[in-house]
């Protein structure tokens, strides 16, 4: 933590905490490298950007407010299907598709937040799991609408701004996903440095103290959950638009579990934890499944156990600890 000196006023201290770190600028510049270095992997890069944003949305509720969810893919799936259906039956313009997906996912998130905010710990995990399974089965059984296990076919996404077509190499897809990721990240960053962000950290740090300082934690949680659902919906829409299809996989338990693993790997409760975790997870999956497609989860398991055992705050948490020790002589 910062050293208290006489020149630091409380306000300037808080202002400094919200300032951009040079490493952050390096990080975002590095996200542009795939265009130059890995032009054949831009489709993967696009998927990573989408998944990173999904992990960020889970981080808002898990890392900041301490709400563990095993059903976050429900909102991803709602976003994926609503964007797909919107482009198929109404209009293929991508940004309006994003908005529709965000609105529907947010609506569902707001509705379920009244249940979510009443529970904690194991009951909460079970409820999120149940809601996630429920959403999956609804999508599965509504074959006439979603295509069921065949997936939603016939999605046609128009060029971005009417100019940039989604090409085979994924150049437009990655630029689009990365752009949306960056904009939503800026919003999330703003939220984290806001009074509301502080209240969420308060909930995570001590649920019992919050009412004693006059805080309505349930109202805070409803708001955070709705915002997280909106972002997850945007992620689902991005995936549909960049792949021109939506499948049951987008709303599956597997996706909920994977995103939780990514967040824990990267480090929950830090804005970049989900982003780094998603990148590691997706690249590892790509590489390991090239070696032995059936067994790649073995390596994720090894990685997960190792990280949780030795770096309880994730990879970023471990790095932060190392640099802090390094600075302190």
């Amino acid at each position: 933590m910062a050293q208290p000196t006489t020149t630091v006023t409380p306000q300037s201290y808080l202002l400094a905490r919200g300032r951009w770190h040079p490493l952050e600028i390096v990080f975002w510049l590095a996200t542009l490298l795939p265009f130059v270095l890995f032009p054949n992997y831009l489709s993967l890069a696009s998927q990573i950007a989408i998944t990173a944003l999904f992990a960020l949305s889970l981080d808002l509720i898990l890392g900041y407010a301490g709400i563990v969810s095993l059903g976050h893919a429900a909102f991803f799936g709602i976003g994926a299907y609503s964007a797909g259906l919107f482009s198929k039956y109404v209009w293929g313009e991508p940004f309006s598709g994003l908005l529709v997906a965000a609105a529907l996912a947010g609506l569902l998130g707001y509705g379920t937040s009244f249940i979510i905010s009443r529970f904690r710990h194991l009951p909460l995990i079970m409820i999120t799991l149940g809601l996630g399974l429920l959403a999956h089965e609804v999508a599965n059984s509504a074959h006439w609408l979603t295509g069921g296990s065949d997936g939603l076919q016939g999605v046609r996404t128009q060029p971005i701004f009417g100019v940039f077509r989604f090409d085979l190499y994924g150049q437009t897809a990655y630029a689009y996903s990365l752009g949306v990721l960056f904009i939503v990240f800026l919003c999330a960053r703003r939220l984290i440095n806001s009074p509301f962000g502080l209240a969420l950290r308060g909930i995570r740090e001590n649920w019992n103290r919050m009412p004693a300082i006059g805080a309505d934690s349930r109202a805070h949680i409803r708001k955070a959950y709705t915002i997280a659902a909106i972002i997850a919906g945007i992620c689902g829409a991005l995936l549909t638009q960049t792949t021109n299809s939506a499948s049951l996989e987008s709303i599956s338990f597997q996706r909920s579990a994977d995103v939780l693993v990514m967040l824990v790997l990267g480090g929950a409760g830090r804005l970049y934890g989900g982003l780094v975790g998603a990148a590691i997870f997706m690249i590892a999956r790509d590489q390991f499944s090239g070696i032995a497609p059936q067994f790649w989860y073995f390596w994720i398991g090894v990685l997960l156990v190792a990280v949780v055992m030795f770096l309880p705050n994730g990879i970023l948490g471990g790095l932060a600890k190392i640099t802090a020790r390094w600075r302190r002589p």
């Binding site: 409380p10 440095n193 806001s194 004693a212 300082i213 006059g214």
Partner: protein, 256 residues
């Protein structure tokens, strides 16, 4: 009833009762705290002192009876709404935001009171007045020099002071202190009570404390609880002279 001058009591209870099965933890408790009072709540371990604070603040629900804050019935209100009306408490066991620093924690409490803690589209650092108010509270409680240190790294005595700072940030009319110096070495507990004694005269105080020197030094009125009921109450001199209290404390040797 109280011997203090008239006017509505800052906090009172009417026939307040609570039991778990056959175990009675609060039995028909009738109390009146006049505005600006400095009340001590004493009694052996298990007398129901913390339970009484939990009932008053809404952290436990009574089986019967009422709680009145400034004459208004608050029995049905949730804890956070009681806090917003001016009833704050501290905890015997530190109940702090371990990963936040004191500045963040107290600023959060101020933000909740001022009603902007739900704002997510502006930087916390732009709330200059609230931050300054939080910092003033911290300085008043001798926490100014450690306000950027993570709470879990603070010395224990400082953490006890932060307990009080968080409660003060809610601008209470009535403050209930559950053993504010619990676990603090005896030579330091005086410091904590100096801070408590220095709080505004408008603030109505009720504190639980085991150290009789501290009680007699800082309380204007003492309530003795035994077995979930009010055993007796009176001025420090009256309590000191009460043979029944002596028996509770010295004869039965329950003292914790």
């Amino acid at each position: 009833m109280t011997t203090h001058s008239g006017g509505t009591p800052a906090l009172s209870t009417r026939h307040l009762s609570k039991s778990f099965g056959s175990l009675v933890v609060a039995r028909d408790i009738e109390l009146n705290l006049p505005v600006g009072a400095r009340y001590a709540l004493i009694g052996p371990n298990g007398a129901g002192k913390t339970t009484l604070i939990n009932l008053m603040t809404g952290m436990q629900t009574p089986n019967a009876g009422q709680i009145l804050l400034g004459g208004e019935d608050i029995t049905a209100l949730e804890p956070q709404h009681r806090v917003r009306r001016g009833l704050a408490r501290t905890f015997q066991i530190n109940t702090l935001f371990a990963g936040l620093n004191p500045l963040e924690a107290v600023t959060l409490a101020v933000a909740e009171r001022r009603g902007f803690a739900g704002k997510f589209w502006q930087n916390i650092a732009d709330e200059k007045d609230a931050i300054e108010e939080a910092y003033e509270i911290l300085v008043k409680l001798r926490l100014g020099d450690v306000c950027y240190q993570t709470t879990r790294e603070l010395p224990y005595g400082r953490q006890r002071l932060l307990e009080i700072a968080l409660a003060l940030a809610t601008k209470p009319k009535v403050l209930l202190l559950d053993e504010p110096a619990a676990g603090v070495p005896q030579d330091e507990s005086g410091d904590i009570f100096e801070v408590v004694a220095g709080l505004s005269d408008d603030l109505t105080l009720l504190f639980i404390e085991h150290d009789m020197h501290v009680v007699f030094r800082f309380a204007s009125h003492i309530i003795v609880m035994v077995g979930g009921a009010v055993f007796t109450e009176g001025s420090p001199a009256e309590i000191a002279a009460d043979p029944g209290v002596r028996e509770v404390y010295l004869g039965k040797r329950h003292h914790g």
